[in-house]
Symmetry: C2
Subunit: 235 residues, 2 copies
């Protein structure tokens, strides 16, 4: 038995018959021979190629990448390096999401979860409108992790401010004033230290406050923004 049927090969390799059909269709692993009636016969070379493909798939490469990797063996190393870079980037993204979710779950009540998210989302939009490119490049310069760290700090701030609001702490209270200072400091990190950009962001914020946030009638968080404004005024 020097030729393999598709079913036997599927069992031996742990792949499905359907996957082998697919590899055949796209020309990645083609059965070199057929029986008179059209059944696939895989030669030892075909089997070898399948195992190569399988091993590369386990590294997370796409079928197209595998195809070009197998076409010239000297392209393996750059492809691996690219894949490693992609995986590293993905690891950072996943870690960023994880930290955000952890911060959310850890610090916020069930009721405030959605409105907190919504507020962050709208707040982010204030800047993506006009200075979008500027902020994107700034975010790129800081690195995604730093951006996520900022967002996590922000979540913490919102949590504490909400707590003070719920407790009825006046906005002029030193603790609240301190939090409002941190709020502005965070905003400054987003907008950078350049006063011109800061002013533009502030203008953007004020304009949009009357366009978006009042339009959608923020239920609880409109109050929060007001609260921070009052605390800021108390400085």
């Amino acid at each position: 038995m020097t030729r393999w049927s598709i079913g036997d090969l599927a069992k031996a390799s742990g792949l499905t018959v359907r996957a082998l059909y697919h590899y055949d269709e796209i020309g990645l692993v083609v059965a070199s021979e057929r029986t008179a009636s059209g059944h696939r016969r895989y030669t030892p070379d075909d089997v070898r190629r399948l195992y190569q493909v399988r091993s590369l798939r386990q590294l997370g490469l796409s079928l197209d990448e595998i195809r070009s990797a197998l076409s010239r063996s000297d392209s393996l190393r750059p492809i691996f390096e690219a894949q490693l870079a992609a995986l590293t980037a993905q690891a950072h993204q996943v870690e960023a999401l994880r930290s955000r979710l952890t911060a959310l779950l850890d610090g916020h009540t069930t009721e405030s979860l959605l409105s907190t998210l919504e507020m962050m989302s709208v707040y982010e939009s204030y800047f993506t409108a006009d200075q979008l490119t500027d902020l994107r490049s700034r975010a790129a310069a800081m690195g995604p992790e730093a951006v996520e760290a900022l967002k996590a700090s922000w979540l913490e701030l919102v949590k504490q401010l909400r707590q003070h609001m719920a407790d009825g702490t006046p906005a002029s209270d030193p603790r609240v004033v301190e939090l409002s200072r941190q709020w502005d400091a965070l905003g400054a990190k987003f907008t950078g230290d350049d006063p011109a950009i800061k002013a533009a962001a502030q203008r953007s914020w004020e304009e949009n406050k009357t366009s978006i946030s009042t339009q959608i009638g923020w239920p609880a968080d409109n109050g929060l923004v007001e609260y921070v404004s009052q605390a800021r005024a108390a400085r």
Copy 2:
């Protein structure tokens, strides 16, 4: 302007017009109103919902998950927790792939990259044939990270053995014998300490050696397996 056109909303939210069409199509964010000619008019409530959707998307939730999350706000927390668990699992997978790729790039020549992978792939198949379920459960018990650690150790072993072969070190050399011992120890970790399973795995290995690996005529690694066999005999 208390109603938003789709283009303005796209600009404000940073999403594309096509994405908004899609959300409308699947009923996730529907424009509550239309002009006489059929142009979408988004009400403030629609806008609010869009920002909620966008914020949940940024956490990596699927549109279906978002739909159910928004249908009952009390389902947010369990969904977040599930997402956190999924992200944690994904982080482990990515990390496992990264460590494998790093081990490969770090220790192997361009020529040996593919054959090393192929060998691992075939070797793995020896066990997935008959004792597949047994090994899968064992792998599950060890956890994916432990499995990846084993594979990384294996890569290191192969690297050193290949080096000795290239240097012409005889298989009876104590260093090579030691490596062969580690090779078997690694195999034992794969197959477990149960002698019965070990024997079965050994049989499987021997049988398949004559079926698969000789069939596909391993170019360089056939020699490596031989080399290890000789070193094992020298013990």
